[in-house]
Symmetry: C2
Protein backbone atom coordinates (compact mmCIF):
# COMPACT_ATOMS: atom_id res chain seq x y z
CA UNK A 1 0.00 0.00 0.00
CA UNK A 2 1.30 3.43 -0.88
CA UNK A 3 0.76 6.64 1.01
CA UNK A 4 -0.56 9.79 -0.56
CA UNK A 5 1.55 12.80 -1.44
CA UNK A 6 0.97 16.15 0.28
CA UNK A 7 1.23 19.16 -1.99
CA UNK A 8 1.61 22.38 -0.01
CA UNK A 9 1.28 25.66 -1.88
CA UNK A 10 0.22 29.29 -1.65
CA UNK A 11 -2.13 30.66 -4.31
CA UNK A 12 0.22 33.62 -4.84
CA UNK A 13 3.30 31.45 -5.48
CA UNK A 14 4.50 31.29 -9.11
CA UNK A 15 6.50 28.11 -8.50
CA UNK A 16 3.50 26.64 -6.69
CA UNK A 17 1.40 27.33 -9.77
CA UNK A 18 3.99 25.72 -12.07
CA UNK A 19 4.08 22.65 -9.81
CA UNK A 20 0.27 22.47 -9.74
CA UNK A 21 0.24 21.93 -13.50
CA UNK A 22 2.43 18.81 -13.19
CA UNK A 23 2.01 17.20 -9.78
CA UNK A 24 -1.16 15.21 -10.53
CA UNK A 25 0.25 13.84 -13.78
CA UNK A 26 3.45 12.83 -12.02
CA UNK A 27 1.76 11.23 -9.01
CA UNK A 28 -0.78 9.36 -11.12
CA UNK A 29 2.05 7.83 -13.15
CA UNK A 30 3.23 6.13 -9.96
CA UNK A 31 -0.18 5.39 -8.48
CA UNK A 32 -0.07 8.02 -5.76
CA UNK A 33 -2.97 10.21 -4.66
CA UNK A 34 -2.21 13.90 -4.16
CA UNK A 35 -3.65 15.93 -1.28
CA UNK A 36 -3.69 19.61 -2.23
CA UNK A 37 -3.09 21.81 0.81
CA UNK A 38 -3.09 25.59 0.34
CA UNK A 39 -1.36 27.48 3.14
CA UNK A 40 -0.34 31.06 3.85
CA UNK A 41 3.28 31.59 2.88
CA UNK A 42 3.42 34.90 4.76
CA UNK A 43 2.87 32.99 8.03
CA UNK A 44 5.41 30.29 7.13
CA UNK A 45 7.98 32.93 6.20
CA UNK A 46 7.92 34.20 9.80
CA UNK A 47 9.49 30.95 10.97
CA UNK A 48 12.47 31.33 8.64
CA UNK A 49 12.70 35.12 8.52
CA UNK A 50 12.06 35.01 4.76
CA UNK A 51 10.44 37.67 2.60
CA UNK A 52 8.59 37.38 -0.71
CA UNK A 53 11.20 36.64 -3.39
CA UNK A 54 10.27 39.55 -5.62
CA UNK A 55 10.96 42.01 -2.79
CA UNK A 56 14.55 40.91 -2.18
CA UNK A 57 17.32 42.98 -3.85
CA UNK A 58 18.92 41.21 -6.87
CA UNK A 59 17.06 37.98 -6.12
CA UNK A 60 13.80 39.77 -6.90
CA UNK A 61 14.76 40.74 -10.44
CA UNK A 62 16.26 37.33 -11.07
CA UNK A 63 13.13 35.61 -9.80
CA UNK A 64 10.78 37.52 -12.08
CA UNK A 65 12.95 36.39 -14.98
CA UNK A 66 13.14 32.83 -13.67
CA UNK A 67 9.35 32.47 -13.14
CA UNK A 68 8.73 33.01 -16.85
CA UNK A 69 11.72 30.97 -18.02
CA UNK A 70 10.82 28.06 -15.74
CA UNK A 71 7.27 28.18 -17.13
CA UNK A 72 8.63 27.94 -20.69
CA UNK A 73 10.93 25.13 -19.60
CA UNK A 74 7.99 23.22 -18.11
CA UNK A 75 5.63 24.01 -20.99
CA UNK A 76 3.19 25.92 -18.80
CA UNK A 77 1.43 29.17 -19.73
CA UNK A 78 2.55 32.09 -17.59
CA UNK A 79 2.00 35.81 -17.36
CA UNK A 80 3.42 37.83 -14.49
CA UNK A 81 0.43 39.19 -12.54
CA UNK A 82 0.12 42.96 -12.29
CA UNK A 83 -0.71 42.77 -8.58
CA UNK A 84 1.96 40.57 -7.00
CA UNK A 85 2.14 39.09 -4.45
CA UNK A 86 -1.43 39.19 -3.12
CA UNK A 87 -3.33 38.01 -0.05
CA UNK A 88 -4.63 34.49 -0.59
CA UNK A 89 -6.56 33.67 2.57
CA UNK A 90 -9.93 34.00 0.84
CA UNK A 91 -9.00 31.64 -1.99
CA UNK A 92 -7.52 29.15 0.49
CA UNK A 93 -10.54 29.23 2.80
CA UNK A 94 -12.84 28.76 -0.20
CA UNK A 95 -10.73 25.78 -1.23
CA UNK A 96 -11.12 24.05 2.15
CA UNK A 97 -14.86 24.75 2.21
CA UNK A 98 -15.18 23.07 -1.19
CA UNK A 99 -12.80 20.24 -0.24
CA UNK A 100 -15.06 19.36 2.69
CA UNK A 101 -17.82 18.76 0.15
CA UNK A 102 -16.05 17.51 -2.98
CA UNK A 103 -12.26 17.18 -3.25
CA UNK A 104 -12.39 16.94 -7.03
CA UNK A 105 -14.37 20.16 -7.28
CA UNK A 106 -11.98 21.84 -4.84
CA UNK A 107 -9.05 20.89 -7.07
CA UNK A 108 -10.83 22.28 -10.13
CA UNK A 109 -11.39 25.48 -8.17
CA UNK A 110 -7.69 25.62 -7.19
CA UNK A 111 -6.62 25.17 -10.81
CA UNK A 112 -9.09 27.83 -11.90
CA UNK A 113 -7.69 30.23 -9.26
CA UNK A 114 -4.10 29.61 -10.31
CA UNK A 115 -4.83 30.04 -14.02
CA UNK A 116 -6.96 33.11 -13.45
CA UNK A 117 -4.09 34.69 -11.54
CA UNK A 118 -1.03 33.49 -13.45
CA UNK A 119 -2.41 33.31 -16.99
CA UNK A 120 -5.30 35.77 -17.17
CA UNK A 121 -3.89 38.33 -14.71
CA UNK A 122 -7.08 38.39 -12.64
CA UNK A 123 -6.60 39.35 -9.00
CA UNK A 124 -7.96 36.37 -7.06
CA UNK A 125 -7.80 38.30 -3.78
CA UNK A 126 -10.87 40.26 -4.85
CA UNK A 127 -14.39 38.98 -3.99
CA UNK A 128 -15.60 39.58 -7.55
CA UNK A 129 -13.01 37.30 -9.16
CA UNK A 130 -13.63 34.51 -6.62
CA UNK A 131 -17.37 34.99 -7.23
CA UNK A 132 -16.89 34.57 -10.98
CA UNK A 133 -14.64 31.52 -10.58
CA UNK A 134 -17.21 29.86 -8.30
CA UNK A 135 -20.00 30.69 -10.71
CA UNK A 136 -18.13 29.08 -13.60
CA UNK A 137 -17.94 25.84 -11.60
CA UNK A 138 -21.66 25.95 -10.70
CA UNK A 139 -20.77 26.72 -7.08
CA UNK A 140 -23.13 29.19 -5.41
CA UNK A 141 -21.05 32.40 -5.04
CA UNK A 142 -23.09 33.59 -2.06
CA UNK A 143 -22.43 30.37 -0.15
CA UNK A 144 -18.75 30.54 -1.05
CA UNK A 145 -18.61 34.13 0.15
CA UNK A 146 -20.24 33.13 3.46
CA UNK A 147 -17.71 30.33 3.93
CA UNK A 148 -14.78 32.60 3.20
CA UNK A 149 -15.86 34.91 5.99
CA UNK A 150 -16.94 32.21 8.45
CA UNK A 151 -14.88 31.74 11.65
CA UNK A 152 -14.81 27.98 10.97
CA UNK A 153 -12.82 28.34 7.75
CA UNK A 154 -10.63 31.07 9.17
CA UNK A 155 -9.70 28.58 11.90
CA UNK A 156 -9.34 25.77 9.39
CA UNK A 157 -6.79 27.64 7.28
CA UNK A 158 -4.90 28.67 10.41
CA UNK A 159 -4.76 25.03 11.57
CA UNK A 160 -3.60 23.82 8.17
CA UNK A 161 -0.86 26.44 8.11
CA UNK A 162 0.17 25.62 11.71
CA UNK A 163 0.30 21.93 10.84
CA UNK A 164 2.41 22.66 7.78
CA UNK A 165 4.85 24.63 9.92
CA UNK A 166 5.08 21.78 12.43
CA UNK A 167 5.90 19.46 9.54
CA UNK A 168 8.76 21.72 8.49
CA UNK A 169 7.11 23.34 5.47
CA UNK A 170 8.73 26.73 4.80
CA UNK A 171 8.11 27.42 1.12
CA UNK A 172 5.85 26.85 -1.87
CA UNK A 173 5.59 24.39 -3.46
CA UNK A 174 6.57 21.86 -0.81
CA UNK A 175 5.88 18.16 -1.14
CA UNK A 176 5.95 15.44 1.50
CA UNK A 177 5.70 11.78 0.53
CA UNK A 178 6.71 8.75 2.61
CA UNK A 179 7.94 11.30 5.17
CA UNK A 180 10.40 12.70 2.61
CA UNK A 181 10.30 16.50 2.01
CA UNK A 182 10.88 18.16 -1.38
CA UNK A 183 10.96 21.95 -1.68
CA UNK A 184 10.49 23.74 -4.97
CA UNK A 185 9.20 23.00 -8.45
CA UNK A 186 12.83 22.28 -9.37
CA UNK A 187 12.72 19.21 -7.13
CA UNK A 188 10.08 17.49 -9.32
CA UNK A 189 12.81 15.37 -11.01
CA UNK A 190 14.06 14.16 -7.61
CA UNK A 191 10.47 13.57 -6.51
CA UNK A 192 9.89 11.49 -9.63
CA UNK A 193 13.01 9.44 -8.95
CA UNK A 194 11.75 8.90 -5.41
CA UNK A 195 8.32 7.73 -6.58
CA UNK A 196 9.79 5.59 -9.32
CA UNK A 197 12.37 3.85 -7.14
CA UNK A 198 10.64 3.99 -3.77
CA UNK A 199 13.36 6.23 -2.38
CA UNK A 200 16.98 6.75 -3.41
Amino acid sequence: MTTSLDFYFDFSSPYGYLASEWIDVLAEKYGRAVVWRPVLLGILFKSTGSAPLAQIPLKGAYSLHDFARSARYLGVDYRQPTDFPIATHHAARAFYWLADRDTSLARKFARACYRAYFVEDRNISTPQVLHDLADALAVDPAQLSDAVNAPAYRERLKSETDLAMQRGVFGSPYFIVDGEPFWGVDRLPQLEKWLSEGGF
Copy 2:
Protein backbone atom coordinates in the same frame (compact mmCIF):
# COMPACT_ATOMS: atom_id res chain seq x y z
CA MET B 1 31.39 32.34 -32.41
CA THR B 2 30.15 31.41 -28.98
CA THR B 3 30.87 33.17 -25.73
CA SER B 4 32.26 31.47 -22.67
CA LEU B 5 30.24 30.57 -19.62
CA ASP B 6 30.99 32.16 -16.25
CA PHE B 7 30.75 29.79 -13.30
CA TYR B 8 30.57 31.67 -10.00
CA PHE B 9 30.93 29.68 -6.80
CA ASP B 10 32.12 29.76 -3.21
CA PHE B 11 34.42 26.97 -2.01
CA SER B 12 32.17 26.41 1.02
CA SER B 13 28.98 25.96 -1.06
CA PRO B 14 27.65 22.38 -1.30
CA TYR B 15 25.55 23.17 -4.37
CA GLY B 16 28.58 24.92 -5.89
CA TYR B 17 30.59 21.74 -5.38
CA LEU B 18 27.86 19.60 -6.98
CA ALA B 19 27.74 21.96 -9.97
CA SER B 20 31.54 21.91 -10.28
CA GLU B 21 31.42 18.17 -10.96
CA TRP B 22 29.14 18.65 -13.98
CA ILE B 23 29.62 22.09 -15.48
CA ASP B 24 32.68 21.31 -17.60
CA VAL B 25 31.12 18.15 -19.03
CA LEU B 26 27.95 20.05 -19.87
CA ALA B 27 29.68 23.06 -21.42
CA GLU B 28 32.08 20.93 -23.46
CA LYS B 29 29.13 19.06 -24.95
CA TYR B 30 27.99 22.34 -26.51
CA GLY B 31 31.44 23.73 -27.30
CA ARG B 32 31.53 26.36 -24.59
CA ALA B 33 34.53 27.27 -22.48
CA VAL B 34 33.93 27.68 -18.75
CA VAL B 35 35.53 30.43 -16.68
CA TRP B 36 35.68 29.36 -13.04
CA ARG B 37 35.26 32.35 -10.71
CA PRO B 38 35.39 31.75 -6.96
CA VAL B 39 33.82 34.54 -4.92
CA LEU B 40 32.95 35.16 -1.28
CA LEU B 41 29.32 34.30 -0.65
CA GLY B 42 29.37 36.07 2.71
CA ILE B 43 29.96 39.38 0.91
CA LEU B 44 27.30 38.66 -1.73
CA PHE B 45 24.78 37.74 0.97
CA LYS B 46 25.03 41.27 2.35
CA SER B 47 23.38 42.62 -0.80
CA THR B 48 20.32 40.38 -0.39
CA GLY B 49 20.24 40.14 3.40
CA SER B 50 20.73 36.36 3.15
CA ALA B 51 22.37 34.07 5.68
CA PRO B 52 24.08 30.69 5.20
CA LEU B 53 21.36 28.13 4.48
CA ALA B 54 22.32 25.79 7.29
CA GLN B 55 21.81 28.55 9.87
CA ILE B 56 18.20 29.30 8.90
CA PRO B 57 15.44 27.67 11.02
CA LEU B 58 13.68 24.78 9.21
CA LYS B 59 15.45 25.58 5.95
CA GLY B 60 18.75 24.61 7.58
CA ALA B 61 17.68 21.08 8.48
CA TYR B 62 16.04 20.62 5.08
CA SER B 63 19.16 21.86 3.31
CA LEU B 64 21.50 19.42 5.05
CA HIS B 65 19.17 16.64 3.91
CA ASP B 66 18.91 18.08 0.41
CA PHE B 67 22.70 18.49 -0.07
CA ALA B 68 23.21 14.74 0.33
CA ARG B 69 20.10 13.74 -1.64
CA SER B 70 20.99 16.10 -4.50
CA ALA B 71 24.48 14.58 -4.56
CA ARG B 72 22.99 11.07 -4.87
CA TYR B 73 20.63 12.34 -7.57
CA LEU B 74 23.56 13.78 -9.53
CA GLY B 75 25.83 10.79 -8.91
CA VAL B 76 28.42 12.84 -7.02
CA ASP B 77 30.25 11.74 -3.86
CA TYR B 78 29.30 13.83 -0.85
CA ARG B 79 29.99 13.90 2.85
CA GLN B 80 28.75 16.75 5.02
CA PRO B 81 31.87 18.54 6.32
CA THR B 82 32.32 18.66 10.10
CA ASP B 83 33.26 22.36 10.00
CA PHE B 84 30.59 24.09 7.93
CA PRO B 85 30.45 26.68 6.56
CA ILE B 86 34.06 27.89 6.57
CA ALA B 87 36.04 30.93 5.43
CA THR B 88 37.18 30.46 1.85
CA HIS B 89 39.20 33.57 1.06
CA HIS B 90 42.52 31.72 1.21
CA ALA B 91 41.40 29.00 -1.20
CA ALA B 92 39.92 31.62 -3.54
CA ARG B 93 43.05 33.81 -3.52
CA ALA B 94 45.21 30.76 -4.16
CA PHE B 95 42.96 29.91 -7.10
CA TYR B 96 43.41 33.33 -8.74
CA TRP B 97 47.17 33.25 -8.18
CA LEU B 98 47.29 29.89 -9.95
CA ALA B 99 44.87 31.02 -12.68
CA ASP B 100 47.19 33.89 -13.54
CA ARG B 101 49.83 31.24 -14.33
CA ASP B 102 47.90 28.24 -15.62
CA THR B 103 44.09 28.11 -15.81
CA SER B 104 44.09 24.36 -16.19
CA LEU B 105 46.16 23.93 -13.04
CA ALA B 106 43.93 26.39 -11.19
CA ARG B 107 40.90 24.31 -12.11
CA LYS B 108 42.61 21.14 -10.88
CA PHE B 109 43.34 22.95 -7.64
CA ALA B 110 39.71 24.07 -7.34
CA ARG B 111 38.48 20.52 -7.86
CA ALA B 112 40.99 19.24 -5.32
CA CYS B 113 39.78 21.84 -2.80
CA TYR B 114 36.13 20.94 -3.33
CA ARG B 115 36.75 17.19 -3.05
CA ALA B 116 39.00 17.59 -0.02
CA TYR B 117 36.26 19.54 1.72
CA PHE B 118 33.09 17.77 0.56
CA VAL B 119 34.34 14.21 0.21
CA GLU B 120 37.31 13.85 2.56
CA ASP B 121 36.07 16.26 5.24
CA ARG B 122 39.34 18.21 5.26
CA ASN B 123 39.01 21.82 6.36
CA ILE B 124 40.35 23.83 3.40
CA SER B 125 40.38 27.04 5.43
CA THR B 126 43.50 25.78 7.24
CA PRO B 127 46.98 26.57 5.85
CA GLN B 128 48.08 22.94 6.30
CA VAL B 129 45.35 21.51 4.07
CA LEU B 130 45.97 24.12 1.36
CA HIS B 131 49.69 23.36 1.66
CA ASP B 132 49.06 19.63 1.14
CA LEU B 133 46.73 20.22 -1.80
CA ALA B 134 49.31 22.46 -3.48
CA ASP B 135 52.03 19.94 -2.84
CA ALA B 136 49.99 17.17 -4.46
CA LEU B 137 49.75 19.30 -7.62
CA ALA B 138 53.49 20.04 -7.63
CA VAL B 139 52.80 23.68 -6.72
CA ASP B 140 55.29 25.18 -4.29
CA PRO B 141 53.35 25.50 -0.99
CA ALA B 142 55.54 28.38 0.21
CA GLN B 143 54.85 30.42 -2.93
CA LEU B 144 51.14 29.65 -2.64
CA SER B 145 51.18 30.72 1.00
CA ASP B 146 52.88 34.00 0.06
CA ALA B 147 50.28 34.66 -2.64
CA VAL B 148 47.40 33.95 -0.29
CA ASN B 149 48.68 36.63 2.08
CA ALA B 150 49.73 39.14 -0.58
CA PRO B 151 47.78 42.42 -0.88
CA ALA B 152 47.56 41.88 -4.65
CA TYR B 153 45.46 38.72 -4.34
CA ARG B 154 43.42 40.11 -1.47
CA GLU B 155 42.50 42.96 -3.83
CA ARG B 156 41.96 40.56 -6.71
CA LEU B 157 39.40 38.50 -4.82
CA LYS B 158 37.66 41.65 -3.61
CA SER B 159 37.44 42.94 -7.20
CA GLU B 160 36.11 39.62 -8.49
CA THR B 161 33.45 39.56 -5.76
CA ASP B 162 32.52 43.22 -6.43
CA LEU B 163 32.24 42.49 -10.14
CA ALA B 164 30.04 39.48 -9.44
CA MET B 165 27.75 41.62 -7.31
CA GLN B 166 27.51 44.23 -10.07
CA ARG B 167 26.52 41.46 -12.47
CA GLY B 168 23.69 40.43 -10.13
CA VAL B 169 25.30 37.31 -8.66
CA PHE B 170 23.76 36.59 -5.24
CA GLY B 171 24.29 32.86 -4.71
CA SER B 172 26.42 29.81 -5.45
CA PRO B 173 26.53 28.30 -7.97
CA TYR B 174 25.55 31.07 -10.37
CA PHE B 175 26.11 30.84 -14.10
CA ILE B 176 26.04 33.57 -16.73
CA VAL B 177 26.13 32.72 -20.43
CA ASP B 178 25.09 34.93 -23.35
CA GLY B 179 24.05 37.43 -20.66
CA GLU B 180 21.54 34.92 -19.27
CA PRO B 181 21.75 34.19 -15.52
CA PHE B 182 21.11 30.79 -13.92
CA TRP B 183 21.16 30.35 -10.15
CA GLY B 184 21.56 26.98 -8.49
CA VAL B 185 22.69 23.50 -9.39
CA ASP B 186 19.01 22.71 -10.01
CA ARG B 187 19.10 25.05 -13.01
CA LEU B 188 21.59 22.84 -14.89
CA PRO B 189 18.73 21.31 -16.96
CA GLN B 190 17.57 24.79 -18.02
CA LEU B 191 21.17 25.78 -18.70
CA GLU B 192 21.57 22.72 -20.89
CA LYS B 193 18.40 23.57 -22.81
CA TRP B 194 19.77 27.09 -23.28
CA LEU B 195 23.10 25.83 -24.62
CA SER B 196 21.46 23.22 -26.80
CA GLU B 197 18.89 25.55 -28.39
CA GLY B 198 20.76 28.85 -28.18
CA GLY B 199 18.18 30.23 -25.78
CA PHE B 200 14.55 29.34 -25.16
